[in-house]
Structures are given as C-alpha cells and as structure tokens.
C-alpha cells in the first residue's frame, strides 16, 4: 500500500514546550485516516505543519513521494493538499459562493490578461469557478444559501462551506480539523455521509475529530496521539480495545475512570 502522505521524525517545539516529539506516520491513498488524542496532544499542531501554516522544528514531510518540508501554505495547496479550520475561517465581505470561488484561486485566470478579461465578464475560468462553486455547494448541501454572507449561516453550514471551499481547489488530500465540533447528532450523521461521498471522489482524508462514534464508523485507520507522541496506529476495531489508548483518554486502569 502506497503512502500518499508520509511524516518522518517531525518535532515541533514552542519555546521550552515540546508539542510534537518525533512523529512518524503515513496516510494511505484512498483512506479516511483519523488522528485522535486528548486535548493538547498536538493534533492541530501537526495539521498546521502538514498544511504549511507552521514549520516543523525538525523532521521531513512528503506528499506523493515529493518532499515539501518548509513550503508555504499556498504552495502546499497547489500541490494538492487542502484544509479546513477548527475555528471556521470564512471570509466576511464575500458571499458564500464567492468564498468557495476563493478555493478555485489556484486554477483560474492567472496573469493580467486573464484578470482583465474577467473584468469585462469574458473569462471562461471565472465562469468555470462559479459553476464549480455552485456544484460543490450542492454537494455539501448549502446551495440554497449561496448568496448570503458567512455570519448568516449556522455553524454546521459554515463548516460545510469551508469543506466546499477546500474541495474547490481540487485536492488529492483533504485535512479536516474537527469538522463535527458544535454539530448536533443529525448534523453529525449528515457529515458522516458527506465524508464518505468525498472519499468516493477518490480524495484521501486525514481527519482530526473528538466524536468517537463518527471515527469508529468511517475511519479506515486511526493514529492516536498523546502528549506529542504517537501511542499507536491501527484499524478502529483494534484501537477500541488498546489499553494504552484507554489509559491516555481515561487515566490508568487502577484509578477510577469517572471519579468515585
């Protein structure tokens, strides 16, 4: 099985605090790979490194065999890795459909000629982007609200729009940082089906999530992170029974788990 994404010996230090300690793992092409762990385990730090927002203190990262350690976020996106944000970061002042079109930035109308043609409404790229944005808003189920601004949507819808925006860049790997946070059970079910439909489009997914049921249902593989180190990696059925994982989440087995 070929690893689409590989992480080799990545560490990240914030001053005296070691947030990530020698992380090595891989994400297989076509998988939904979940990254779980208690708060402060370093999941978002790893995500920020993988998307180029943050630099690793040491270690290498490679995408499809191509080393991209230290590349800027816009380069990482053009390579084929798109992300959402744990705290939704849609652009105020742009409508929902325009937000998704920002995701098309990497592939439409480069240069002065293309942009000038777009000024007069003569750009095929601009039309293609609008079309793509509409299609993706349909796909994530927010099409009806495409002309409003982000603050007018519910949090769940804002998260869906962010996923649509990431998909608009035509990624091969999608990094999802806690997409279910703040969603009610019905919305989580819709999200599960959405993630499965994204996988059906042959997009590999790396998922950080706290929603245990969601992960157990859709993940092919799970990596468990605790205090900046990887505890274990394996399929859901194995992870569920791993004593080290249970200890990391609930404390050691000789202590009362939920307070006596």
């Amino acid at each position: 099985m070929s690893a689409l994404l590989s992480v080799v010996g990545v560490s990240r230090r914030f001053g005296g605090y070691l947030a990530l300690n020698d992380i090595s793992c891989g994400v297989a092409a076509g998988h939904v790979h979940a990254l779980i762990g208690p708060n402060g385990a370093g999941k978002t730090t790893l995500f920020n490194i993988l998307s180029g927002t943050l630099r690793a203190t040491s270690g290498r990262i490679a995408f499809d065999g191509h080393d991209y350690t230290g590349q800027r976020p816009d380069h990482v996106l053009k390579m084929g890795i798109a992300r959402n944000f744990q705290h939704v970061r849609l652009i105020r002042g742009l409508s929902i459909v325009e937000n998704v079109m920002v995701g098309c930035h990497a592939w439409i109308d480069r240069g002065i000629v293309g942009n000038a043609a777009a000024l007069f409404g003569l750009s095929s790229g601009e039309r293609a982007a609008a079309e793509k944005a509409r299609e993706l808003l349909e796909f994530v189920g927010v099409a009806a609200k495409r002309h409003v601004e982000p603050p007018e949507l519910t949090l769940a819808d804002q998260r869906r729009v962010e996923i649509a925006r990431a998909l608009a860049s035509r990624p091969r790997l999608l990094l999802l940082d806690e997409p279910a946070a703040g969603m009610n059970p019905a919305e989580v079910n819709e999200l599960r089906s959405l993630i499965q439909r994204i996988r059906d489009r042959e997009i590999t997914i790396l998922l950080v999530e706290h929603h245990v049921r969601l992960i157990m249902e859709i993940a092919d593989n799970i990596t468990v992170l605790s205090a900046g180190s990887i505890i274990t990696t394996g399929p859901p059925s194995v992870i569920q029974r791993d004593p080290a994982v249970i200890a990391a989440y609930l404390g050691k087995s000789d202590e009362p788990a939920f307070g006596a």
Binding site: P73, A82, L94, R165
Partner: protein, 272 residues
Amino acid sequence: MLGSYWESVAVFTGINCLMGISLYVPMMAGLISLGQGGFMAIGAYVCALLTRADVPFALALAAGGCAAAFAGVIVGMPALRIRGIYVMILTLGFGEIVRVFFATFEPTGGASGMGGIRPLTELWHVVVATGAAVLLLWRIRHIRFGRAMIAVHEDDVAAEAMGINLTRTKLLSFALGSLMAGIAGGFYAHQALFIDANQFDFMRSAVTFLYVILGGAGNPFGPIVGAATVTLLPEMLRVVQDWRMTVFGTILVAMAVWRPDGLLPALRARGA
C-alpha cells in the same frame, strides 16, 4: 459649456477622485497608505519632465504612472512584514522622503518648483480616466484578484491556505494604487502648470485618506463621493466667505457623528 473656473474645478475634482480610488485599491487588501501624495508627486514630475522633452502626453502619463507603480513596489516590500498602523507610518515616511527629495533636487527646480508646464490636461481626459477607474473598482471584487485582495484583508491565514500568494497580492494592489496616483499626478501637473514639492505634502495624502473615509471605505463609489464632496463643498461655500473652512470643518465633524461609516453604506456581498 462650463465657465473656465468651473471647468478647472471639475478637472481637479476628477483628479481627486482618481486619488481617492488610488487609495481604495490597496485598502481592499488591508494596506492603508498615508503616502499617496508621494506617488502623485513622482507621477507629476516624471510626466512634466517628459512633456517638456516633447514626449506625447499620453505616453508621458503612462510613464509617470509606471514610475509611481515602481516606487509602490519598492515601498510595498517592507510593508509586507508589517500591518495596520505600521503600514500607515511607513507610507507617511515615504511621502515625506519624496517631498524632501523634490524640494532639494535642483534639476526639477528644487524648492522654487517647476514651472512652464504646458496646459495639456483637458476635462474629457480626466472624465475618461476616472470613468475607467470607477469601472475597474466596480468590477474588481468579482474577479480572482479582487477576491484575493478581500480574502487577504479579512483573514490572511485562510487566504494563504486557499492558495493565495500573500506577497504578490499585496504588492500588486499597492502597485495598482500607486499607478493611479501617478497618473493623477500627471494630470495635475498639466492642469496646475506649476508644481513644487509642497503641493504633494502630508496634507495631500491626509486629504486623500479623508476622501475614502468620508465617502465610505466599504463602497466602490465611496472615494468618488468623498473626493467630490471635499473638493466641491469648499467651492460652494464661498458665499459664506471667511467662514468657509469653519463651516466645512463643522460638516466633517457632523459626518463623523451621524455617519461614521461614510456617506455611502458598505456594499454587501452578492452572489456571482
């Protein structure tokens, strides 16, 4: 058609509209410049030098604009590393450097200024240029570059994560604004017929800033309305004679109280 006095007022109004737009463009990307007077000066002097050497006016205007745009890229580079109020301080410093340069640079007249400029600016030139700039401003938010500027302004982390090159977007928006200020300077020189460094001092930059803020920084027609108001109001207030600037100042204060977001409302996003 118009008397020569009102025609002259109309030309200066158009030039000031161009100046307002020249500031609005980088502001879309979150860069507030207090040095637009400096870019205007570069355009004015370069253009005037070239027409003195019998270069056609259109070519001289373009050259003046390009010189200002080049300066914009040079100033924009350090501005990439800083934000908000520090960009204002940096551009303010730039404007002063340009003013002092032209006040001491003898080949363009130094402190005694540069006269003998031919009256080449005609009203229709300024109307066409302003119209083109307004059209650009109206459409720019619906194209890739415009969306990129808005995204960079609102959230640069998200913008960069969506593939937007922050450096290129900021520099281009700065250069585009400087280009317009340079062209406005060319028109100004061939209307005023005499230029000296003090015409492009901090007051010029500050008043340009006022156009945008007064008109409405969230509306592409804001700088036009602001520039027209600030330019025409004192002319119309000549009837109150010595109280002219006092009444004008009072109107500005009243504006700040009752319409703090500018005369025009911020434009809401609309779907593509």
